[in-house]
Amino acid sequence: MVQGPAAVAAPGRGRGRAVTALLLTPTSLWYLLLLLVPLAILIVFSFGERSPVGGYHPGLTLENYLRLPTRQAAFVNTLVLAVASTALCALLGYPLAYYLATRAGSRRTLLLILIALPFLTSFLIRTYAWFTILGANGIPAILGALGVSPRPVLLNTHFAILIGIVYNYLPLMVFPLYVSLERLDKRLLEASKDLGAGRWATFRQVTLPLSAPGLISGALLVFIPMMGEYIIPNMLGGGKVFFVGNALVDLFLQSRNWPFGSAAAIGLIMVVLITVSIYLFLTSRGRVQREVSQL
């Protein structure tokens, strides 16, 4: 499905390479300075010791990694919520993207703009709005006025975090899905029906597999940043639901234990890498198998 990039035109290959290198230099430098160097520092720190006044003291110990299980709850919370909200985003985003790509007609542009509109305000303000809506003076107050008692508590729950996360991340799922569904050749759907497949069979055998690239990139776009999410659990979870992101802030800024913080950060990166690799492995292998299985 994911095909290699089109071959680069052959003539003037030497000069072509030079141009390519030139164009890639700024990006490469950027990544080198802002990603690889900090990553290296993080790795070095994670094997060091906490100096008595906080911060980093050079050393070579596995101590920090051995202490990671004490933060197990944060890791589990993060992973569970990230997986759940990725799934929820996919479930909510797919019908929306499908509608936009196939049925929306002339309303399509307007709807796409509406979906992108909240992003004109800052992430912080949007989340703060939910803080108010879910807070004691928001929905619970309205429900109370309608006679619901006891008034439900919405803020500072898993539910509040899920709302905030899905609200903020849904468009990241919708847009890649929309693109892949929009590109899907509608004649393939007709061919499927022509050959005897009903609506659902056609969806399962044609639409879904052909929109898989969009679904996969959407899921990654949602899942990866969500693993490092800090503001939403902090504001809507009230610190009650502890995330790795919060743990990191805590370790670096409150207890100033940089080596342990670094180890936790490396741990997070490893968890994300492993989860994403498993996911990509399963999705690609699944497709190959389905194609080959019956013949």
């Binding site: 004649r187 499927s192 029906k193 022509d194 497709r287 019956q294």
Partner: protein, 377 residues
């Protein structure tokens, strides 16, 4: 399978009764009546936008007629969804599933019917053998050439043994040589499987070489329906005469209608011509056109002094404007005082005298009145 087709011959597989299809203000198909015999190779022929694809899509079930009724195998099919119709389609750009290999594409229809796996494998292989792609089951579809993709689409559509196979310009994307090959292959295949083929094309030559019957369409209406010979020799109107093959047309005023009709042309010459069997009646005094096929006109090197025209023959003096030697034949543009320019095609067969005339040569142009037709405008 051949036996089965024998039994079904004589039955009607597809029937349109006063079918109209509108898209908003556009009338894509306009009050069409059609009867397609079982086991025949039937073509819908016409220029772009005349409603061929729309007709096909109504048979397949992708569009519903605005008015009128469609029958497949004698049963009305209004409201029957595409996946319940005994009809399969070869789409114009094949519409092969890119995420499946060739074998999976071909077997798609069988999987929908939950055919047992061993039978699936056997029938997929049979279908691939039929289109001469036996070893290609595991290939990815985008690795195939245009002609091979075309054959995969055919195998995929034939595997469910449909009553009717619909083909929408299936050869349109192929180059000329391959198209010629595939024409013969398709025709042979149709004989072999005995399934009714409804074939859409805008290529008159393709329709003539392959079809048992042709319906010529224009602006959503059927202009004429018949065998290729009927359409070529007895076109019902000027549109059909110009769409199938080439013709010289001379417009004028109809003197009298009948089996043989006379027309006073623009320069005053009266031409006689046969009226086609399926003629639309014309009133004396109305506008009409005389159509003469370029190959029905003979050329000779002895120009007469004057034009002589009667109910038997027409003989005119003329001058060659341009002669194009095409090997097996020559094509000439001739200027005549009596009628204006006309096109003549002559076969360069051995028996004829060294027949090629150069530009400027004075010639005798002649044809039999019965070789020309008088048609409505």
């Amino acid at each position: 399978m051949a036996g089965q087709s024998q039994e079904r011959t004589g039955q009607t597989d597809v029937e349109f009764r006063s079918v109209t299809k509108r898209f908003g203000a556009v009338v894509a198909v306009d009050d069409v009546d059609l009867r397609i015999r079982a086991g025949s190779f039937y073509s819908l022929l016409g220029p772009s936008g005349c409603g061929k694809t729309t007709s096909l899509r109504m048979i397949a079930g992708f569009e519903d007629p605005t008015a009128g009724e469609i029958f497949i195998g004698g049963e009305p099919v209004l409201g029957v969804p595409p996946y319940r119709r005994q009809v399969n389609t070869v789409f114009q750009h094949y519409a092969l599933f890119p995420h499946m290999d060739v074998g999976r594409n071909v077997g798609y229809g069988l999987r929908q019917r939950r055919v047992p796996r061993e039978e699936q494998e056997r029938r997929v292989q049979e279908a691939l053998d039929l289109v001469r792609l036996s070893a290609y089951g595991r290939r990815r579809v985008w690795e195939l050439s245009g002609g091979q993709q075309q054959r995969v689409a055919l195998a995929r559509a034939l595997i469910n043994h449909p009553t009717v196979l619909l083909l929408d310009e299936p050869l349109g994307a192929l180059d000329l040589k391959l198209r010629k090959e595939m024409q013969l292959e398709l025709k042979a295949l149709q004989h072999q499987v005995g399934i009714t083929f409804v074939y859409v094309t805008h290529d008159q030559e393709e329709a003539i070489t392959m079809s048992d019957r042709i319906a010529v369409m224009r602006d959503g209406r059927i202009q004429q329906e018949g065998t290729p010979t009927e359409l070529y020799d007895e076109p019902a109107n000027r549109f059909v005469a110009s769409f199938l093959g080439q013709s010289n047309f001379f417009e004028g005023e109809l003197l009298e209608d009948g089996e043989l009709a006379g027309v006073r042309t623009a320069r005053g010459l009266i031409l006689w011509g046969r009226r086609p069997g399926s003629r639309e009646p014309l009133a004396a005094g109305s506008r009409a056109t005389v159509a003469i096929r370029p190959e029905r006109i003979s050329l000779a090197g002895d120009p007469p002094a004057d034009a002589a025209v009667d109910r038997e023959t027409a003989t005119l003096p003329g001058r060659v404007l341009q002669g194009t030697y095409l090997g097996d034949q020559s094509e000439y543009q001739i200027e005549t005082d009596a009628l204006g320019p006309l096109m003549v095609r002559s076969i360069n067969s051995e028996g004829l005298p060294a027949a090629h005339f150069g530009a400027g040569a004075a010639v005798r142009v002649a044809w039999r009145a019965r070789s020309s037709l008088v048609l409505g405008i």
